[in-house]
C-alpha cells in the first residue's frame, strides 16, 4: 500500500492525532471515561495503522520488537512497583493513601502511575500480537 498516495498522506495526518488522542484518554481518565487500557489500545492502533500503510519493516524500525517486549514487562513492573511503594511507605500492598501528602493526592498519584503501567503493557501487548501475526510466513511490505 506504500504507493497509494492518498492513504499515505491521510495516515501521516491521522497518526499524530491518534497518538495525541491516546494521551488525552490516558490523562483525562480521572474525569471522563477512559484510562490506561483504552489509551494503550489507541496508541497501539496508531502504530498498527502505520505498519499497514508503510509496511511491517518500517514499523519495526520505528518501534523495534525488543522495545515492545521491554515496554510489556516495564508496564507490569511499574504496576507492581506502585504496589510495593505502598508497602515501603508504611501502608499495605497497592495502598495509594500513603503515596502523597494527604490521602486524596496519594490516591491521585497511585492511580496515575498504575494507569501508566497499564497503558504501557496494553499497547505493547497489542503491538506484540500484531507483529507476531503479521510476521508469520509472509511479509506485508507490499
Amino acid at each position: 500500500m506504500k504507493r497509494l498516495i492518498v492513504l499515505r498522506v491521510v495516515a501521516k495526518m491521522l497518526i499524530p492525532f491518534m497518538l495525541l488522542f491516546a494521551l488525552y484518554v490516558q490523562f483525562h481518565g480521572d474525569f471522563s471515561p477512559g484510562g490506561g487500557f483504552q489509551a494503550g489500545v489507541i496508541g497501539a492502533a496508531a502504530i498498527i495503522l502505520y505498519a499497514l500503510i508503510f509496511g511491517l519493516p518500517a514499523a519495526r524500525r520505528l518501534v523495534p520488537e525488543r522495545l515492545v517486549e521491554t515496554l510489556l514487562g516495564a508496564g507490569v513492573l511499574l504496576y507492581g512497583g506502585v504496589g510495593l511503594a505502598g508497602i515501603a511507605l508504611g501502608g499495605n500492598y497497592l495502598d495509594y493513601f500513603v503515596l502523597g501528602r494527604d490521602p486524596v493526592s496519594g490516591q491521585h498519584r497511585g492511580i496515575f502511575w498504575v494507569e501508566v503501567g497499564v497503558a504501557l503493557t496494553v499497547s505493547a501487548v497489542m503491538l506484540e500480537i500484531f507483529y507476531l501475526f503479521a510476521g508469520r510466513g509472509h511479509r506485508f511490505d507490499e
Binding site: E69, L72, V76, L77, G80, I87, Y93
Partner: protein, 490 residues
C-alpha cells in the same frame, strides 16, 4: 517489612519476578530471579503457616480498603497449608528446571519460560491466598493462561495440540466459574467470600444460588480434572516440558481442589451442599469411577509419563472421595492426600524428567534395564511409586489410612475394601516399571548416557525423601490437615 505484609508478599514476589525475568532477556538471570522469588514465597508461606497455627486466620486489606468493600487476602490453616505445598514444590522444581528446560527448550526462549513459570506460581498462590471470589477468578486466569503456554513449549509437536485442548476446556471451566460468581453477586451483592457466606445463609435454596453452585462445581471440576472432566489432563501432562509437568501435577489440580473445598464449606455451607443436595453421593460415584477407570487405563499405557498422568486422575479421585465423606476423617484424608500426592507425584515426574532428558521420552521401550544405567533414578521412582500405592512407611499410606478410617467411621465397609482393592491396581502399574527397569535385560533403546545430572537428581530426591519423611513424621501434614478439616466443618 513486617510480618503483616506476608499475605500480599507471598503472591507479589513471583508476580513481580515475572516481568523482571522478561526484562532480563537472558536465561541465567531470569532463572535466578525466578528461583529467588519462589524461595522467598516458600519462606513467607512457612512463616504464615506458623503464624496462623498459633494466632488464627490472617486478614489483609489490599490497598487498605477494608473488606468486604476492598479485596481481602485471607490466610487460614487450610490456605497456609496449600501455600506451603505450592511454593515448596515451586522452589524444588525451579533448580530442576535449569538443567531440564535448558535441554528441552530453545535457548533464546528460556527467559520467557522462567517469566511464565513465575506467573503460574503467582497465579496459584494468589488463588490460595485471596478471600475474594472475583480476585480468585483473575488469579485462576493468570495461572491457567501461563500454564497453557508452558505446556505448549513442550518439545513434541503434539504439545501444541494438547495445550489447545486444555485451553478450550480450561476456558469453559473458568467461564462456568465466573458465571457462578455472577449469579452469587446478583443474589448477595458482594464478592468477599466470608461476607457472601453470611448473606447466603437465608437464601441458600433459591434457584440462582443452586445454579451458581452447579456452575461453580462444574467449572472447578474441569480445572481439577474430576472424572469425566479430565480429558485435557493426560495429553497436557504427557507432552509438556518435564519441569512443567512436575510442577503442574503437584500443584495445579490441588489448588483447584482447594477452591472447591472453599466454596463448598466456606461459601455455600455444608447444609445446602451435603444435606439438601445429593452432592456427596454424586462426588462419591464420580470418585469411585475415576479411581477404577483411570487406574485401569494407566495399566495399558506405553509411556511412563502418560501412565503417571492417568494415575493422577485416579489419585484426584481419592481426594474427592475424602471430600464426599464430609466427615472430619474424610476431609483430613482429602487435605492430607492433596499434600502427599502433590509431593509424591512431583517426585515421580521429576525423575521421569531425568529419564526423558537421557532417552528423549519415557516410553517403556526405553526403560528396559534402566536400573543398570540410571540406578538412582530407578530407585527413586520405585520409592515414590510405593508412596503412590500407599505402602506403610510412605506418605501415601498415611492418606489411605485416613481415607479407610473415614469410610469405616461412616459405616461403609465396602468403601474401605474398595480403597484397599484399588491400591492393588496401583501396585500393578508401578510393577510394570519395576519389571521393565529391574527384571528386563538391557534394551537396545535404553539410554546409556548414565544418570541424570545432579541438578535434576537432587531436587527429585528431595521430594522422594519428603514422601518417605511424611510417612513417618505426620506432625506437620496430618495435624495441619486435621486443623484444616476442623476449620471447614465449623
Amino acid at each position: 517489612m513486617s510480618a503483616e505484609q506476608l499475605p500480599a508478599l507471598v503472591v507479589v514476589a513471583p508476580l513481580v519476578a515475572a516481568p523482571v525475568a522478561l526484562l532480563a532477556r537472558r536465561a541465567l538471570p531470569a532463572w535466578m530471579v525466578a528461583t529467588a522469588a519462589c524461595g522467598f514465597s516458600f519462606v513467607a508461606a512457612l512463616a504464615l503457616a506458623v503464624q496462623v497455627t498459633s494466632g488464627g486466620a490472617v486478614s489483609y486489606a489490599l490497598g487498605s480498603w477494608p473488606p468486604p468493600w476492598g479485596i481481602e487476602y485471607r490466610v487460614d490453616v487450610l490456605s497456609a497449608f496449600v501455600l506451603v505445598l505450592v511454593s515448596g514444590v515451586a522452589t524444588v522444581v525451579a533448580p530442576f528446571a535449569w538443567a531440564s528446560a535448558s535441554a528441552e527448550l530453545e535457548r533464546e526462549r528460556l527467559y520467557l519460560f522462567y517469566a511464565l513459570y513465575c506467573l503460574c506460581v503467582a497465579g496459584l498462590l494468589g488463588m490460595t491466598a485471596t478471600g475474594d471470589a472475583f480476585n480468585l477468578f483473575v488469579f485462576m486466569e493468570i495461572a491457567s493462561l501461563s500454564s497453557y503456554v508452558l505446556i505448549a513449549l513442550g518439545r513434541d509437536r503434539r504439545a501444541l495440540l494438547s495445550a489447545y485442548q486444555y485451553l478450550v476446556l480450561g476456558t469453559i471451566g473458568a467461564t462456568f466459574y465466573v458465571i457462578g460468581i455472577g449469579l452469587l453477586y446478583l443474589m448477595t451483592g458482594t464478592l468477599n467470600m466470608a461476607d457472601m457466606a453470611a448473606r447466603l445463609s437465608d437464601i441458600s435454596s433459591t434457584r440462582p444460588v443452586l445454579a451458581a453452585l452447579a456452575f461453580i462445581t462444574v467449572g472447578v471440576s474441569l480445572k481439577l480434572a474430576l472424572f469425566p472432566l479430565h480429558l485435557w489432563l493426560p495429553n497436557a501432562y504427557t507432552y509438556a516440558p518435564s519441569a512443567v509437568t512436575a510442577f503442574l501435577a503437584a500443584t495445579g489440580t490441588k489448588v483447584s481442589v482447594y477452591v472447591l473445598l472453599r466454596f463448598y464449606f466456606g461459601v455455600f455451607g455444608t447444609r445446602i451442599v451435603l444435606e439438601e443436595l445429593p452432592m456427596s453421593q454424586i462426588l462419591l460415584a464420580l470418585s469411585v469411577v475415576a479411581i477404577v477407570t483411570a487406574s485401569l487405563v494407566a495399566l495399558w499405557q506405553a509411556d511412563l509419563k502418560r501412565l503417571l498422568a492417568y494415575s493422577s486422575i485416579a489419585q484426584i479421585g481419592y481426594i474427592t472421595l475424602g471430600i464426599s465423606m464430609a466427615s472430619r476423617e474424610g476431609l483430613t484424608a482429602a487435605v492430607v492426600h492433596l499434600f502427599n500426592h502433590g509431593i509424591t507425584k512431583g517426585a515421580l515426574f521429576l525423575l521421569v524428567g531425568g529419564v526423558a532428558l537421557r532417552a528423549g521420552h519415557a516410553g517403556f521401550d526405553r526403560l528396559q534395564g534402566l536400573a543398570r544405567t540410571m540406578p538412582l533414578t530407578s530407585l527413586g521412582i520405585v520409592i515414590a511409586g510405593l508412596s503412590l500405592i500407599g505402602t506403610p512407611g510412605t506418605a501415601g499410606f498415611v492418606s489411605k489410612w485416613y481415607l479407610v478410617l473415614g469410610a469405616i467411621e461412616a459405616g461403609r465397609w465396602w468403601l474401605a475394601a474398595f480403597i484397599v482393592a484399588t491400591s492393588l491396581i496401583a501396585v500393578a502399574y508401578i510393577w510394570r516399571f519395576v519389571e521393565a527397569a529391574y527384571l528386563a535385560p538391557l534394551g537396545g533403546a535404553t539410554p546409556r548416557a548414565g544418570e541424570a545430572p545432579a541438578a535434576m537428581l537432587v531436587p527429585a530426591w528431595i521430594l522422594v525423601a519428603a514422601s518417605v519423611w511424611f510417612g513417618f513424621d505426620t506432625s506437620y501434614s496430618v495435624q495441619g490437615a486435621a486443623r484444616a478439616a476442623a476449620l471447614l466443618l465449623q
